[in-house]
């Protein structure tokens, strides 16, 4: 939807080429583009401003002078700074306390707290902590307690019942007491969503914190949040000694600039990211990936994951079966792969996620899409027998196919070459067959080598 930063910068960088060094003047335009990119990614304006000041300072320094092309250096500086700001990867949960280690969740309405409680329970259990207790102090949202109960069962963790007519603090104390007496390792406390400007509700969670003395107080943030992320993060951070952040709904297509805003304001580590509604949808945080995502610089890994999700399982199984039976990968399969790519939202949406694709203009992309259609056209012009066994394609058949598809014989030859490469790729098919295939496809498109 938006130009990504790589795209923006490649335009600017062209102008920077050949100018031995970056100056206050010639960096200005590039920085403006970075500013727009960050704003479109929903990084809060005050954060953008400060970030740009840092980048400028770095860019005008030595690092840039030593490098070969100033443009590359600038992108490098931006990316490096952003990654640095994102903090370190995979900061673990803290259990260094007299058991039970209490984890308190906090955040706005609908940010994903209750779901994250279940996800954390599951993760902690997989780390070998046996006894986990979940409790809900949300007496406001309809069926919030039921929801946590279901989630606890899914996570195979124990659930401490509560009811909407109780006081949240009473619930918390009772649960803590129960957890102590029954030697639980971990107590995870869900709370109601609240607005940071709701003074009563902020006081309530402060009281919960005082009663529970949690080792972890996690602020749960929706990755789609906009500019207001700075205000909410500041208020929650001031009200509570937060120990970490969980960024949810990262399986969407939001750039996630809120991650930077929240990091910037709270200075607290982003410990986990939510990548799905199911309890398996949680991952440790990767600062580098997040930086790339905010900048729109592509994230091959997320592309591959997405591909895995969307690919018609049956088709995939069929292909695997076939390979197992020793039958080769034929042009019919090749066509099916192209159709799967279409299912994934077409080339343009895929390319958005591939690094370097930013250099491709809209025209290149249109060409890519066109090429895909041509490939399909050529395959369509073949007989089923020819698709199953391309080896029989001799000159006369090729001419017929070329005429049928409205292309030249050279183009048919090129396709056959590409197909051969793809076939080789498929031979070395491990698990991520499609992912490899994608990379193969990428090589076939203009300007993407």
């Amino acid at each position: 939807m938006f130009d990504n930063l790589t795209q923006r910068l490649s335009r600017v960088v062209k102008n920077l080429r050949g100018q031995g060094r970056l100056t206050e003047d010639n960096i200005q335009e590039a920085l403006r583009e970075v500013r727009v990119a960050l704003l479109e990614a929903d990084v809060a304006l005050p954060v953008v401003r400060d970030f740009l000041a840092r980048v400028k300072e770095k860019a005008l320094g030595q690092e840039v002078l030593q490098s070969l092309t100033p443009g590359q250096a600038l992108i490098g500086v931006v990316h490096k700074e952003l990654t640095a700001l994102m903090g370190s990867a995979a900061v673990p949960l803290n259990f260094a306390s007299q058991p039970p280690a209490v984890i308190l969740m906090a955040g706005l309405q609908g940010s994903g707290k209750t779901t994250t409680c279940g996800k954390l329970a599951r993760i902690i259990r997989s780390q070998g902590k046996k006894k986990i207790l979940l409790v809900s102090c949300d007496v406001y949202r309809p069926a919030a307690i039921d929801q946590l109960k279901t989630v606890a069962a899914q996570a195979e963790a124990e659930f401490f019942p509560s009811s909407p007519d109780q006081k949240p603090e009473d619930i918390a104390r009772a649960a803590l007491d129960y957890a102590r007496r029954h030697f639980f390792d971990v107590l995870i406390v869900d709370t109601a969503g609240r607005l940071h400007v709701d003074a009563d509700m902020m006081r309530e969670i402060q009281q919960l914190h005082a009663a529970l003395k949690p080792v972890e107080t996690l602020f749960v943030v929706d990755a789609m949040q906009g500019q207001d992320a700075v205000n909410t993060a500041r208020a929650f951070n001031e009200a509570l000694p937060l120990t970490g952040v969980v960024l949810t709904k990262l399986d969407g297509d939001a750039r996630g600039g809120a991650a930077l805003s929240v990091r910037f304001i709270t200075g607290k580590p982003i410990k986990f990211v939510g990548v799905g509604e199911k309890l398996t949808g949680i991952e440790v945080f990767h600062p580098e990936r997040m930086a790339s995502r905010i900048l729109g610089m592509g994230d091959v890994l997320s592309l591959i994951e997405e591909a895995h999700r969307a690919v018609d399982q049956q088709e995939a199984l069929k292909a695997v079966e076939k390979l197992k039976k020793g039958k080769g990968f034929d042009l019919e399969d090749f066509k099916a792969q192209i159709q799967q790519m279409k299912k994934l939202g077409g080339l343009s949406s895929l390319m958005d996620k591939l690094p370097g694709a930013g250099q491709l203009g809209a025209a290149d992309l249109a060409m890519g899409e066109k090429q895909m259609r041509r490939i399909e056209g050529i395959i369509n012009a073949m007989t089923p027998q020819e698709r199953r066994n391309p080896a029989i394609l001799k000159a006369s058949r090729k001419r017929r196919i070329a005429a049928g598809a409205g292309v030249t014989v050279q183009e048919v030859n090129r396709l056959l070459n590409q197909f051969e490469q793809a076939q080789k790729m498929m031979k070395s098919l491990g698990k991520g067959g499609l992912a490899k295939m994608m990379r193969g496809m990428k090589g076939m498109l203009p300007g993407m080598r």
Partner: protein
Amino acid sequence: MFGFFKSGKKPSPEPAATPEPVATPEPAAAPEPVTTPEPAPAQAAQPARLGWAQRLKAGLAKTRQVLNTPVGDLFRRHAKIDEALYAELEEILLTADVGVEATDYLLESLRKRVKRDRLTDSGQLRDALKDLLLELLTPLEAPLDVSRARPFVIMLAGVNGAGKTTTIGKLAKRFQAEGRSVLLAAGDTFRAAAREQLAVWGERNRVEVVGGQGTDPAAVIFDAVQSARARGIDVVLADTAGRLPTQLHLMEEIRKVRRVIQKADPTAPHEVLLVLDANTGQNALAQVKAFDEAIQVSGLVLTKLDGTAKGGVIAALARRAGHAGTPIPVRYIGVGEGLDDLQPFRAREFVDALFGD
């Protein structure tokens, strides 16, 4: 400083007397009423509420506090129109999630108007910007008329946690207050306790909820529409599970829901509401685009405006055409978690609130 927002605080928890909701969810094969209308639990006592515009204004006041530059001050400090004034206006728009494109457009138009009308002082500039925003947002003001079909079928959709289920509770109240009969369809058969949540809203409004966990959402809603028709119900509100546009199979599922509704009644759905969280940044544009493509969205609901998020992204949305070739109207705004915290969208009030008038 927070005292001002008291009215926007959480409604009191349900009274203890509330009948046990759906403590034992029966695995109903066919969608069955999960609640039978019962005497409504006493409405939780709520503190005197400010009008939504005031509350909105209170929320919007925050934008200005971020910058430590209340708009009023801003215009008072700069008597003359200069670049610094434009820059500060730009900040106000950007920090309200208006987005780069719409902000540029508004400022560009403002400059033209300053020239055209030979404006000279900052007060005039302020009025001119208000006018521009109003011109942009007025087309979004198109109240929903549910009397043109019976049953009038409303389908709600949106990303996870946007406020769909809560909005249904509020809408049920609203339509009932207008003397209409309402039926709720629990089309979220996926999320934990989604049905129970809707059931509580059903109880609060004393309206029936049909549908159950584990069943097919399209089937649930299909049955609801048929049943509403047979019983002469005025409005059907169909809840759906939250979904992100990247979840292609779920987008396919909701397409199917729409198709199946149409099978039950060829004129339905009469309204497809997309619920947007006002906290959402520029991703709201992608949400509208994706849902509109999938299910032809006819109206928006902007929730959680009682916080400090401004929902300025609707200005960006006002610059984009939906499937019908015009921008998609904003039907309602959500200003809290209680039954009454829903208001029709009014462009003028929205702009006034933004400017602190």
